[in-house]
Symmetry: D2
Subunit: 347 residues, 4 copies
C-alpha cells in the first residue's frame, strides 16, 4: 500500500540519520547540554534574527503543547482555541489533564479571528460574576491549521494586539510550520513569529526528523523554569544530542526549506490533478495537505492501493479525505496516484 | 575528556542505527501500530515467557514512571518508595505533578524491605483517622537501584506478597535492568519479573538505544486505557517505528545481554582495580555502576582527564563519586583509567 | 431591594438554626463521625429505601461535583455533559482542574438525551484511533437542569441503560433536587435515583440549609476511599456535626418536602401571573425557577425594586431573566411582584 | 465522655449563632459579596493596620492551604515545610494532588529555622543539575505549630529575609493563630504577620466559629485571580454571608482575643497541674495545646471518663497524649480533670 494518510510514515531524511551515525561515538553530556543542541539553538536564533529567545527541543507535539501551556498559565486561566484545534480534538485531554480548560471558538476552515477572541474577552471581563468562569490566559493557534489553511501576517498582528490588550499569551503550534512557510500564499517569516508570539514551535517530526519539536520562547515569564518543567512533564530526553543533531541538520543552510519545498511541490501536483478532474477541495490548499471530496466509487478503487485519512461523509456519494505529502513523498508515488485518478475518473 | 559519569554519553549501538537506516523508507502507520513495534512486542513476550502481558514502548524514564503510576492509582493513593528512589530525588516532582504523594521509606544502600512496607501498611490500616493520610497503593522499586544494588528473587517474592496482602500494585523501574540481569549475584529473570510484578519496565536508553523504555504490564487494571493515557501524558511517539526497531534489535537473539555483559565486564575490571588499590566502594557493585571513595588529591588529578559524577563529600579528604560503564565503554578508556589510578596511587 | 435572582439569598430555615443552637454545646467527634451525621445518614437511607448506599455530606456544589468525579474516573476518562451543564458553564474549570475533559453535547432546554450519549459512545468505540480521544467514563445530568426542566423516569432509565452498555457511571447533580421532586410533572423518587444512578446528590444549600450537599453513592467503586478523597480535595468539614444537624432536620418527617412545596407554590403563583399577562416563559416551569421574557421597558421599572438574574437579550426589546423562589420566599414579596407586574403591564 | 482531644468538639460561640439568627432573613448576594463579609474584611484590615491586603473567607484549613499554595506557585515549584507540618502529615496529599511537591526539613519541636531553609536553597541553586529537582518556591510555617510551639518575631524576620533572598513566598497557616497571639511568650502581632508574610490565615474553626478561615494576602501575585481559584477548588461558599457574619463577630472589639484568653487560661491551669504532679510536657506549652507524657496506668483510668488524642508510646510505661482546651472549655471540666489527676497520682 502507498501511504498518503499522513506525513510521518517514513523514518528520517538520510542526511539526519547519517549525521547521527557520524556523531554517534562522541561522548556528550545529557539533557540538552551537548554541543549539537547548542549549535542548533544558535542556528535557530539566527533564523529568527532574535538573540533573546530561549530554544528548547522536545520530542513530540502533545508533549510540547502541554509543557508550553503549563509554563504559561496560572491555574485559573484557560486556553482560547478553535474548536478544530489539535489540543481539543486529538490529544486525549492532555491540556485538561494538566488542569486547564479550553475556551472554544467556532472555526472557519480551521481558523479563528482576533475579533472572535476580542468578543470572548470583552464578555469575560464585563461580567461581574466572572469568578465562576475560566479566565482567558492564552490564545492557541496552529499554523498551518489542522485543515492546512494559513494565517497571514496581518491576522497574526491582530492576534498579537488582542493578546496584549487583555494580558494573554499568544502561542503558535507549528507542527507543520515548515510546510506553511514555503506556501505560495504565505507572508510570514520565522522572524515575524518570534516577534509576534510569546512562544511558538517548529515541528521536526513531520519534516524529516525522526522526532522533535523546537520551542522558541520570547516571553520571559515562559522562559522561567522551562527546563525543569519539561523534566517534570516527562519531556526531557536523556540523550538530548539526538534532538540537537537533528535540528542542526534541519537548520544548516536552511535545509528545512528544501524539504518543505519538496513536499509542497508534490502536493501542488496533486492539487492540479484534482482541479483538472473537477474534484473539489474542501479547504484552500497551499501546503502539504489536501482535502479533496472524492466520489465513493472512485475512493473504493483507490483504497485498494492507497491509504488516505477519511475525514467524514460529505454526502451519501462523496467522502472528504485528507491526503498528505511530505519531505519523503516520491515522484513515483505522486505519478501513480495521478495516473490512477485520471484513469478512474475517465471510466 | 573521557566520560565515566553516566551511561548515556554516546548515541546508540551501531546495529540499531543501521537497522533504522535499513527500514527508513518503508512506510508504516504511526503511534506504535507499525510492524517493527509488533515484532518487538512479540520478542518481549517470548523473553518473559508470558503471553498475557501488554507491552508499550515509551521514550524516557520519567515519562514512563509518571504514566505507569497514573495508570495504576486512584487519586487518594500514594506510592511507597525508598527515599533514595529516582521518582523522589531526580524527577522534578513528576509524580506529585500528576497528583500522587510519595510515601518515603528510609533506604539502606538504595534498597527497602518488604518488612518496612508491611509496617507502613499496618500503621495505615490500623489508624481509624486514616482519611487524613494517603493510602498506600503501589510499591515502587528500582532494580538495579540508584546505587547499583540488586534485589534478590526472595526479596521480590516478599514484596509481591505484601502487595497482594494490602491490595497494592508492585512496580519495578528497570531503567538499568539489563545490567542487573547479568550481574554475578543476580538470580532474577525477566520471567520472574513478569510473574511477580504488576508492571515493570526494561530500559533501552542506557543500554544501546537512542532512547526507549519497554513497559511490560501484567495487571489488567493497568492495561486498561494505557495507550490513551500515554498519549494524554505526551508520551506517545508519532513515529513509533523508531521505538519498535530499536527494541527489535535489542531483543533479537537476546542482543541486550551481549551489551549488558560488555558493560558489566568493564565495570568489574575497574572494581578490581579499586580493590587492588585499597580504594573502598561504598556499595556492593556487580552491575555497571561503581561508587568508589576517592582521596581528593587523586580525584583532582583524575578530573583533568575524566568526568565522574560527584555524589558527596565522604569526609574532608575523600569524595564519593559514581563511575558508570556502558555498552559503549571502550577497553582503551578502561585501561587508561586503570593505568592512571595505579600511577596516581603509587605516587 | 427584593431578591428573586437566586435561591440562596437568605440564611437557613429557623428550625435548622434552632437545632444548631440546641445541640451546640454537646461535644462530638469531628469529620462526620458525630451522632447527628449518623442519624442523618440513616434518615437518607430510609428515604431512598436502600441500605447499601454510602452517604457523605459536603459543603458545596462545585466541591461535590469535583470530588464525585475524581472518585469515579480514571485519568483518561471524561464526563459527558450538556453544554449548558453547571460543571461546564459556572465552575471555573473545576473539573478540568482535576484533570478531566468534558465531552459536550448540545442541550435542548437544558437537557440531553440517552440517544445523544449513545451516538457519542458509538463514535468513540468504533474509532480505531480512539487513543487520541478522551474516553467517555461518566454521564453528568442535573435534575432539575440549569433551566429548571426535569428528566422523567423513562429518560433516566434510558440513561441508566446506555451507561451500563458502555461501562460508564451515571451521576446526577441534585443541587435543586428537592424542588424537582415536588414538581407537578415529576415522576421520579429518591428511591429511583438511588437505583438508577451510580451516585447523585441532594442539595441543602438552596433548600433551607446554611450549606450542604448530601452525596448518595450506590456504586462500590465510587464508595472506595471517598472520605479520604473528600479530605484531599478540601471538602471534609472539621465540625461535620454542622452538616449532620442540618440534614437531620431536612429529612426528619420529610421536612424538605414541606420547604420544597412552599417554594414551588410561590413560583407557580408567579407563573400564573406571567401567563395571565401573556408574558411567555422560555422553558417549561414546574419547579422554583422561571425564565420569563420581559419587555425591557417593564424590566427597567421592575429593577428599581427587584433583583433578577439577567440571562441574555432575547431581542432588542425583550430580555430573558431568571426568577427564583425558595423555601424563604414570602407571600408578601410574591404579592408585591404580582401587583407590580399587573400594574406595569396595564400602563 | 469529656473531650479534651481537640478544639473543635463543640459548635460555635453563642454570640455567633445569635448573630446568624438575627441576620438570617435579610436578603444578601452570594459568594462573599454580602455586607457582612465586607464589614468583616474591613475589621481585619483594621486589625492588621494594613489597607492594601486582600481578605478572603474560606471554609476549612486543608481547602485554604491548597488554594493559597495553588495561587502562589508555578508548577515546577515546591513548598518547604517542616516534616511535622500539617500539609505533610494530615491532609491526605492535598498539596501533591494539586501538583506540588513538599520539600521536607526535619523539625525540632514542630519548628524549622531560616538557616535550614537557607541551606536548602543554597544547595538547590548551586546545583547545575537542578532541572531534575523541584525549585523551592514557598516556605510554609504554622504558628502555633502542630505541637503548640511558637515562632518569635525575630524568627519570622529571618524567614522573611531568606524568602526575599531566594524569591520565595512566605505563608503562615494560622489555624490556631488566635491561641498563639495571646500566649505569654508571644511577641508577634497581626500587623507583623501582614508585614512579614506574603499570605497568612487566621483560623475561625478552632476559635468559636462553626467553620471558617480568613486568608490575608499581601503579595499582589497571590491576590490575582484568588476568588476564581477558590471557586475552582470548590472553596467558594454560596452563602458567603455565613462566613462574613462569623468573622464580623470574631473581630468586633477583638472578640477573638477574649475567646483565645479563655482557652489558654484553661490550658495553663492544666499545665500547672501537670507540673505540680511532676508529669512532664513534651513541648513548651503556652497556647491551648498540652502534650503531657502520662503513665499508662493513669491514662487507662482517665480514659474511662476523658477523651485525649494519643500521639505515640513514649516508652513502655508512658504515653504521649495531646490535650486541647478551647473557647468552649468549661471550668467544670478543667476542675474535674485536675481533681482526677491529683487523685490518681496520689494513689
Amino acid at each position: 500500500m502507498i501511504h498518503f494518510d499522513n506525513d510521518y510514515t517514513e523514518g528520517a531524511h538520510e542526511k539526519i540519520l547519517s549525521r547521527l551515525l557520524e556523531t554517534n561515538n562522541i561522548q556528550m553530556p545529557g539533557y540538552g547540554l551537548d554541543d549539537y543542541s547548542e549549535k542548533a539553538r544558535n542556528l535557530i536564533k539566527k533564523a529568527t534574527k532574535k538573540e533573546d529567545i530561549d530554544v528548547h527541543f522536545l520530542v513530540g507535539g502533545t508533549q510540547t503543547n502541554l509543557t508550553v501551556i503549563a509554563a504559561s498559565l496560572r491555574p485559573y486561566e484557560g486556553v482560547v482555541t478553535a474548536d478544530s484545534g489539535h489540543i481539543h480534538t486529538l490529544e486525549t485531554g492532555a491540556i485538561e489533564a494538566i488542569g486547564h480548560k479550553l475556551l472554544l471558538l467556532p472555526n472557519r476552515d480551521g481558523k479563528i479571528t482576533a475579533a472572535q477572541v476580542q468578543k470572548l474577552c470583552d464578555d469575560y471581563w464585563s461580567n461581574k460574576a466572572n469568578m465562576h468562569k475560566v479566565q482567558p490566559g492564552m490564545v492557541y493557534l496552529s499554523n498551518p491549521t489542522e485543515t492546512g489553511t494559513l494565517y497571514s501576517k496581518a491576522e497574526l498582528i491582530a492576534f498579537h494586539k488582542v493578546c496584549k490588550d487583555y494580558d494573554m499569551k499568544l502561542f503558535i503550534d507549528g507542527a507543520r510550520l515548515g510546510y506553511g512557510l514555503v506556501a505560495e500564499t504565505n507572508d510570514l517569516t520565522l522572524e515575524d513569529l518570534a516577534q509576534l508570539t510569546d512562544v511558538f514551535y517548529f515541528g521536526g517530526t513531520k519534516l524529516g526528523a525522526l522526532f522533535g519539536e523546537a520551542v522558541i520562547i520570547s516571553n520571559p515569564e515562559i522562559k522561567k523554569g522551562f527546563l525543569a518543567l519539561t523534566k517534570q512533564k516527562g519531556g526531557l530526553l536523556a540523550k538530548g544530542r539526538t534532538l540537537g543533531v537533528q535540528f542542526e541538520v534541519l537548520f544548516e543552510n536552511q535545509f528545512y526549506l528544501e524539504l518543505s519545498h519538496h513536499a509542497v511541490k508534490q502536493a501542488m501536483k496533486l492539487k492540479n490533478t484534482f482541479e483538472a478532474l473537477n474534484l473539489s477541495l474542501k479547504y484552500e490548499a497551499y501546503t502539504n495537505q489536501l482535502f479533496p471530496i472524492i466520489p465513493n466509487k472512485i475512493l473504493d478503487k483507490l483504497q485498494e492501493k492507497y491509504v488516505f485519512l477519511k475525514m467524514e461523509q460529505e454526502d451519501k456519494d462523496h467522502t472528504l479525505v485528507r491526503i498528505c505529502t511530505s519531505w519523503a513523498t516520491t515522484d513515483e508515488n505522486v505519478k501513480a496516484l495521478t495516473d490512477d485518478l485520471y484513469q478512474l475518473m475517465r471510466e
